[in-house]
Amino acid sequence: MHAMPEMTTDRLILRPHRGDDYQAFCDLWADPDVVRHISGKPFTAEECWIRLMNRPGMWHFMGFGFLAIEERVTGRFVGEAGFHEVRRDMTPSLIGTLETGWVLLPEFHGKGYAFEAMDAMIAWADVHFASRDMTAIISPGNEPSFKLAAKLGFSEFARTDYHGEVVVLRRSAARKAT
């Protein structure tokens, strides 16, 4: 298995998920505000569990994945961020890219935490997966995520249907040279 990295930023720790994150992980994925633009439907406890189980699998098979985000001052679970390959049934296909994602509990929104976490993850990926494009899919209407994606260097390259309309964004690998 590829080692799962750990990273520290000014205010956050990014680390592998743990089994005892389960309760907080459920709070995250069952929150209607969190899922409003991600499937629209709160996850059941069983679905959350399976999602938590998936996380190490991505690292194992792909060498990249999501990390849990913890607030340094309080040690509290804030959310998760990172890269995955979901093998979604959609066109254009995102397979072979680093699909980027971030999800934070609402009480931690508006503090720049998502940017801080993704900035660290992207710096890591720029070293370990230098030649891969990054992508992201964001639902129309999810303005905070569009703003963050733009700040991280993503721009729209397609719109498609994936359980509803989504915008596909890309941050090209070539960008890193700059």
């Binding site: 298995m1 743990r18 089994g19 389960y22 059941t44 406890a45 069983e46 569990w49 399976i50 938590l52 189980m53 998936n54 996380r55 190490p56 699998g57 991505m58 194992h60 098979f61 979901v86 093998r87 979604r88 049934d89």
Partner: protein, 172 residues
Amino acid sequence: MPSIPTLETERLVLRPYRRDDFPAYVHLFADAEVTRFIGGVPFSREQAWARFLRQIGMWHYFGFGFFAIQERATGTFIGEAGFHDLHRVITPSIEGTMETGWALVPPAHGQGYATEAVAAALAWAKQSFPTLRRTCLIDVSNKASLRVATKLGFREVARTVYHGATVVILER
């Protein structure tokens, strides 16, 4: 992450999943006969991928999980068997037990492969997790799996409804 063991039986090898098992894994769970009693609906490729990833997480968090099953004679991937804890919302609860499961491609059915594979997995479990209970959750109409479970020493402890299906909970 604990290393995933490899177990050998007379006709089978139970081994860690490899990334290149994925096409065969998609094929396994796209088969309506396989999913008839596992959710009831064939998996999309995307759903098979999520399950494939989850199997690794089980090893990571618990130190047990499912194995890929390979036929020794041909080297072909024929299915999976092993243990999980899915935190199912079910009464009676089976959380904290090693829930035992198996799924084989239809051409491999009827040859005693499931019994052979699960028996090896159970022997390993007895060594590695001597104090954990082993359970099974089987649809009441899944006669073939109930037969395998009985042969392996599982006995019915309860019947209940889970996701709309009547299921038998067994323990060994």
